[in-house]
Point group: D2
């Protein structure tokens, strides 16, 4: 089928390629002239045959909101917009309402798979009405990995459900990575263990902890056995923060996910103010020596 | 090759079957007459041709120690014992030393895979000398899943390294299960999500969080979508406790694994004494109502 | 000085009493006729001499917002409103702006001390302009405990700073209570310890952990040594949730506060969905027995 | 009464002074000639009148064990040894048994208060038989703070109970310090707050979180408002590690104490191997940039 695709970055560029290989006609728009197929959103709308379907694949937040507002200007009754970016699910309702004023449908799609999706397919979690989701199904079927549809795609519920499921996916991902990280750190700390890499490699088959992430860590450790070249500094793009915030709203205890989020915050601090306070306290009551920061003069 | 196998319970019984299918001669001993091949350990020793190799697959702790002591009596110079149970790795050194007095070798083998190992093969993490491990390699190669040896087997280091790696494996397993559990709880709590099962199922392909455990949870949720029939009560067989203890010895922070262990402790309490104290405190300072336990009578 | 006081519940009633004892003229309004001094907000405004100062001490959320809107109707240029309730600090800005339209000033005041404040004085954390805070100082000085002003009162910053400081106070309070709860649970679990109460009592002088909460727990344990009469069920009034949410916004790792919040959520669950999922997983891979919930038929 | 005191370091030296001021005859032994009253343990035994009472105040572990072994050589039937150091409570039983062979009694005493104990008195938690504890009561009554005995002293149970109670005290102390640290970090991160120090100072009276540690942190922040001169690096002397280990033995969930312990471990790492693994994983699946450690060439 025909699809407009806004955003041809790391994710969108690959998706266009996978969709074209799958036989779809994809017209891409991106502000960078070297990759775009049309000059602007109006050009995109003009190039598509109504009823149009446009997939938005841009950074979450203002850029997504502005893109959707822009599409509301150039699309019309019967058209459909899919937000495939990492938007917070709470933004889906307002986006859907804005588009609905013009008779434009809306579907939110959480997309997992990163740079591997081009070759292996993307895991998809979508939200929207049955009718709207049905319209995009040929696209979803090409983007998702081959095999049974229900193993790589879920219509999770009404508008917002797709991004909510993707947010939880990322929260779980945070905690799984921490789990593997803690396991790695213990193996690396214990002198009996010759090679943490070999242990992680051996977990690939037959074990309870085998997974795609386990294999990726084995691969990363093969490239750099002591991770000597890599800093622990770890950014976050929001989903982990949102997961803990939504867990609080839902009164769901998430100690493993929260620990993983806090570990990221810590990884970005030069020194922990909390531990400065603890060190200061120990010095106050016990006369325990503290490590002072000497300023050169 | 020929192997003596002590312990024909859930694990040992299946292993005997897998090994026999793989062409090995397995002579099993178990106190239960209906499954044993020989009447006792002496009978086992007599039925094996020297140099004998005996795999011990019995519950960890005293039963394993007593079995190894018993084998030290009936085996001799040049024989070899493998402890394939979930022994704490700190027990491997003493076991090896006891056997070494009689010239008997020792290998510790962490075995993962549970009831699925019979069909799919077991993930193996072993510790011991190169020579000792080499002797048992035909057995390991049959027990482990097919494919490259390093993807389902690791000679992790000297005596103790196998059980240490298996202990860490189980610690990681705890945290992964908590991660998936937290994700499930959030999906179940959010009314936008039609079916947490369908989301877990859809994570099977293409997503970052895909794993064997993820698929097992999708399967469990298919059988009982709200887990309505299952209590949260969760026992532990020691490896999680040992993992946190060893992490403390190694000064490795393991917040996700520890949170998972504590969640198990909590799951076995009727009420939390910690939270009773918190409720009592709130009542003391704020006059906050507490829920009192009324005794009938 | 003269003060209008809206809300004569558990806190407001006591505060009126403390202020009157301190020589202030307090005119209270409450919808309950048996405690109110005036029939309604208009009556309150009429009874006060301009420039009027009105303290709002009602439940946070809609009730506070509605009260402040109501006051904006009946007060005028040069008057001042103090919100002494447990409002989220993010609501202070909008409240201040609404009042500013009428030339009415605003101060937010976090008030700690619970039912003990009447006799001992209240710990106060306030936000607002220097001029506005100065106007209420005679009230603050009577409400706060005797002694140096800076030991029981802080002008923490502009509008919002008082409630922010109070929110953090409550987050710290959560974690302290968990700390004491964990200590109690360990003492109660160890058979060497004759009386956890006696240990908590003995921490009253000389120890590092001595505090008001420690003494309250000693008192609570004296009344009910095993807390046998009290459930662990623990409600929360929002400040703990807000603290973790603001910590996330500020990228501050708060593992102890978050653990305390999650423990409250858990205390209100009949069974943990997370642990149901873990139990289901263990059953799937290991054939570990689960505790099934039998329905009577 | 007369007391032998072994160990005249930071704690023992001050205790000797407090006891002498209280009218006791204290004969101190320390390997450092400039502080000792006698040349060696034999000299100490000779200088004391039977039945002798000797207080051991040396670092826990081998030094304490060796001291107690040494005392077993020079003391005799009817004498009594008190271990006032921070020994792990599991060592008390063996120490008591060793001394009992010579008819020497044993009491374990947990001592809290740090450098403040000289002036304010020490919080005491002791274990032993009623008869043995009674013998030392005049010493305990001088060491503890003035006021009711039960507010600064507890005979917690048989041998080991004193050190167990002190260990739990320190575990609680860890979590309280983390609680205050987290609160400080939030106040410092929020721009509305003019002075975190002023907030901590204002918590001294009337608030729920007031405590000795709160006042010490206010004091530390007065000396160095941004803790700019102090590193977060925080050592541990064992009690926190033991607390978590004993919690695991007792199946008591201690998330706040464990989080505090792990925070100390983290504070001593240059970089977190766990977070290196997480960063490596994000790079593998998402192409997320990692911060590489560039080696100068």
């Amino acid at each position: 089928m025909q699809l407009g695709l806004v955003g041809l970055g790391k994710m969108g560029f690959n998706m266009r390629e996978r969709l074209r290989k799958g036989g779809h006609e994809v017209i891409g728009y991106d502000p960078r002239p070297e990759v775009t197929d049309v000059p602007d959103l109006a050009g995109l709308a003009a190039a598509l045959t109504a009823p149009r379907v446009v997939w938005v694949m841009v950074p979450s937040g203002d850029i997504t909101s502005n893109t959707i507002s822009g599409l509301a200007e150039v699309l019309g009754e019967g058209d459909l917009v899919i937000d495939g970016g990492n938007s917070r699910y709470t933004e889906d309702g307002p986006h859907a309402a804005l588009l609905a004023e013009k008779g434009i449908g809306f579907v939110d799609a959480g997309v997992s798979g990163g740079i591997w999706g081009l070759a292996e397919g993307y895991g998809l979690m979508v939200g929207g009405s049955d009718a709207d989701v049905e319209k995009v199904m040929p696209i979803f079927d090409t983007l998702r990995p081959p095999g049974p549809r229900e193993d790589g795609f879920v219509h999770a519920g009404p508008v917002g459900a797709g991004h909510f499921a993707k947010m939880v996916h990322n929260g779980v991902e945070y905690a799984m990575m921490t789990a593997y990280g803690e396991g790695y750190e213990m193996l690396a700390a214990e002198e009996l263990i010759k090679s943490p890499q070999a242990v992680y490699q051996a977990w690939s088959n037959g074990t309870v902890v085998r997974s795609w992430l386990q294999q990726l860590l084995a691969k990363a450790l093969k490239e750099d056995p002591n991770l000597a070249e890599i800093r622990g500094y770890t950014d976050d793009s929001g989903e982990g923060r949102w997961t803990v915030e939504e867990a609080i709203r839902l009164r769901v205890p998430v100690p493993a996910i929260a620990a993983s989020l806090f570990a990221r915050f810590l990884s970005r601090q030069d020194d922990s103010p909390t531990m400065k306070a603890v060190a200061a306290l120990r010095n106050q009551f016990g006369g325990h020596a503290v490590q002072r920061i000497h300023k050169s003069g």
